[in-house]
């Protein structure tokens, strides 16, 4: 990497917002550099519910957000259809739920322009047989599911096609300021240890829950709260549509289908540092009964993984309930803090990422004196290769079509063949990085099936050695890192059959291989 790069705009953070922003700017002809301290979607964008909100969830708590969601979800369905599964959604109340909330639901949806329709209970049970027999009211809404990995990877790929550069594993070390201006941003690649500096006309902080920390490094102050939300993934898909609890938004009230699985959540737990997120047994035990009331099958479903994401809540006043703090986004121009070329975009939702990017890009362009108008409102998002492999069920389909028996499956649960792993590692190498097990797992379905990576991790490691991508005892470190990382998501859902799987994994990796015996 050359020292002292120059760019028009430096975007910090490679989540939905950051990648959406560089695409928006690139399409207006602005030269950007995106830096991400870990990997694309390492933050909330890779750890959310994947619900493309119709807005109905926010009709009572935040009607303005509800309207934004309605408009933006319509746009994404039209402009990035390959990232969306238009499942539709239901709002479902069960015996004991608040009658007034149910009664007001239709009117509130209408006020926000959200199309809704009452569904007969009998029909609802036909549509979604997993619904509770205690169901008392059902409304349909235009909810959908979105694949956030595909979305961000495709946004970045299109931006790169329009001249944007991106650096992963690169974090901010410090901001070098003159009196009113950030002159240089000092960065470090934490893999290679290499340090360098960037000169940019405008710097945008799009670091989600980390926004407060990054702003503070620049000497600006914003009050953000970190609210952890945990989710659990079922082994099989339980429902066709998104199922929301018809009540004031709270914990454990949404079940979202995604490919071959369903995802249930979420929770809301205050944490002081986004790095400390991890799903806990207590959260899962607390939210499951709510889910079971709506979908009784959740009581005996097998879960394969839990994960947690962190919501940045931009704080106006401290309140006891984090859901009362606005989920609308905040675009903060730090010229008010005396830094003329620095702004922060945070908060919001995945569903509104494009709008957040547009508004931010407008402000950036005003600053740069660029007159081009936003194109992401009208130009479809091209589907690229980079985001292709995360879709569950895609690799089995392709593998069967190809019928090449020498293309061995490395992951049998999710049927990921060698050719897909090779394709992804080539992709990572093109970006100048060494593919690790963890990254291969993030970019594919490898390790996401019921075996939790116990077997495919071994097959992948052996394969990477055969390809010369691992040397000396790197494979042992890779295995340890991969297994420990997977464990975070498995630990809270260990009961029932998953415990046998964990035992098998430990018998193999510890009992036989002794991987725990050295660091």
């Amino acid at each position: 990497m050359k020292k002292n790069l120059e760019t028009q705009v430096l975007v910090i953070g490679g989540g939905a917002t950051g990648t959406g922003l560089v695409r928006d700017l690139a399409l207006r002809g602005v030269r950007c550099l995106l830096v991400e301290k870990q990997d694309i979607n390492a933050g909330a964008s890779g750890a959310n519910h994947g619900l493309l909100h119709s807005g109905a969830r926010y009709i009572a708590s935040d009607p303005a957000s509800a309207k934004e969601c309605r408009e933006e979800s319509d746009l994404i369905k039209r402009l990035a259809p390959h990232c969306v599964e238009t499942t539709g959604g239901l709002f479902v109340a069960v015996a004991g739920d608040d009658e007034t909330y149910i009664a007001d639901f239709t009117d509130r949806c209408i006020q926000c322009g959200i199309h809704t329709q009452a569904v007969e209970i009998k029909d609802a049970l036909d549509m979604e047989p997993v619904l509770s027999p205690e169901t008392i009211a059902v409304y349909s809404v235009p909810d959908a599911c979105v694949d956030p990995f595909k979305l961000s990877l495709d946004n970045l790929a299109d931006a790169q096609a329009h001249g944007t550069a991106a650096l992963r594993n690169t974090r901010i070390v410090r901001f070098e300021k003159s009196s009113e201006h950030i002159e240089l941003v000092h960065l470090e690649n934490h893999r290679t240890g290499e340090r360098f500096a960037i000169k940019a006309e405008v710097i945008v902080n799009a670091t989600g829950a980390w926004a407060g920390n990054v702003a503070a490094m620049a000497g600006a102050k914003i009050n953000t709260l970190c609210s952890q939300g945990s989710l659990i993934i079922t082994q099989n898909r339980l429902c066709h549509r998104v199922i929301n609890r018809l009540r004031k938004a709270t914990d454990g009230d949404i079940l979202v289908p995604g490919g071959t699985v369903s995802i249930f959540g979420t929770t809301s737990v205050r944490i002081d540092d986004p790095e400390k997120k991890r799903p806990t047994v207590a959260e899962i035990d607390a939210m499951l009964p709510d889910g079971i009331a709506m979908v009784p099958k959740l009581a005996d479903t097998r879960f394969i993984r839990a994960y947690a994401g962190v919501r940045p809540l931009v704080q106006s006043t401290l309140t006891a309930d984090d859901r009362a703090v606005s989920r609308g986004f905040a675009l903060i121009d730090h010229s008010e803090d005396g830094i003329s070329n620095f702004m922060t975009i945070t908060g919001g939702k995945l569903t509104t990422y494009r709008l957040m990017a547009e508004k931010t890009a407008d402000r950036v362009c005003a600053h740069l004196g660029v007159g081009e108008a936003c194109q992401t409102r009208t130009t479809p998002l091209p589907a690229t290769n980079a985001g292709k492999w995360t879709e569950a069920g895609l690799t089995p389909k392709m593998w069967f079509q190809k019928k090449d028996p020498s293309d061995l499956l490395l992951c049998e649960c999710e049927m990921v063949p060698t050719s897909v792993v090779d394709n992804i590692s080539a992709n990572i190498q093109e970006q100048g990085d060494q593919p690790s097990l963890r990254e291969l797992g993030q970019r594919s379905r490898v390790g996401k099936g019921p075996c939790q990576g116990a077997f495919c991790s071994l097959r992948m490691t052996a394969h990477l050695y055969n390809e010369g991508l691992l040397r000396a005892d790197q494979g042992l470190d890779e295995l340890r890192d991969f297994l420990n990382e997977r464990w975070r998501g498995v630990r809270p859902i260990l009961w029932g059959q998953a415990v046998s799987q964990a035992e098998l994994q430990e018998a193999l990796h510890c009992g036989l291989y002794g991987l725990e015996l050295s660091e």
Binding site: L288, R459, A462, L476, L508, Y513, G514
Partner: protein, 420 residues
Amino acid sequence: MVIGAGMAGMAATLFAAQQGLHVVQAGLTGEVIYASGVFDLLGVYPPKERRVRNDPWDALNELVTAEPHHPYARLAPDAIRTAMDTLTAYLAEIGLPYKGHRNRNTTLLTPVGTVKRTYRVPESMWAGSQALAAKAPCLIVDLVGLRGFSARQMVETLGSAWPDLRTATIDVPGTSVHGPKYPEHVARMLEVEADRERFAAAIATHVNGAAYVGLPAVLGIYQTSEILADLEKHLNARVFEIPTMPPAITGLRLKEAFERHLPVLGVEAHYHHRVFDARPLPGGGFKLQMGKSEPEHSVLADRVLLATGRFIGKGLTPKRDGIHEALFNLPVHQPKHRDEWYAGTFLAPQGHAVSRAGIETDSQFQPVDAVGRVVHERLYAAGSILAHQDWMRTKSGVGLAVASAWGAVKAIAKQVATSS
């Protein structure tokens, strides 16, 4: 009646039959396919300090002093040694010889390139520990299509300490399609002499003076000794097997050998049968319902030895509200809350609290309740279902199964003798 067909169930059945007891055995042997086939006694102690032990008897001494509730502490070291010797003597008799040092652990190469300590290895793995000890010129061979077994991985990982280690990759002759290869498939093929010769010929071109040749564990299921001898003759080198990841044949060999030979000792075996229900009878014995997928018939038993294993074996049922024993609803020693079952890191050296949960027994291997009272006068337990042990982290799975089976059978025999 022995319930369970894992290592503890098999060993208990053998020991009981040798004692002249009339034995009925029922249990699924499916999980044996996960067994590595090597017999650990005690390879690491204490796990928290990651102390790898060359002398298992020394380690055992420390363990029984530090952990008086450990199942090993219920037995004299001599009894443990006799139990292991009795089992390996029997296995040698039925064609599955095991090797090891009298007082020391031996070493074993694993496919990820680590070196494991274990007490007894199948004869087919024995040369590997000698090659490793001497750092002798050695060729490791892998097979096209056998996933998760890379010779290159082992050589990369071990090579800095063992410069004379080389690799070769061969196509399994006679298999035309380039699909995946499974150890069982290759093993069955090698049982045929002509195929074995072609296999040896494919390796021979790579030997180039290597004194040892390491292969994934595929050398037959029934005639491993013959296949090994044949290959050594063809290759003019010592040949050894390296365990493979599941599905492996090392466990299958044990399963097949036991299933074929235990009935010869007069054992009434119901493999592939599960016990669905067990009820104590007023007279003191038990009535057990068993069958393949549903209860088909019942057995009356004077005494029951419970060797149903932990979670994989389905001896213990882990529910969200706690761990339950599946057949007799025995009290299970366990952490208070599910939150304490597992450590935050998978590879945390001290292991997971849930692994030490299980059935508590008295010195006669009879399950007891929380205050130490025997639950059923004629019920015994052995193997991994026992509490206060973590076989995965101390590398003691087979030793624990066999030793506790020995202890339980001795206690049963004593009870039978005094009651008649």
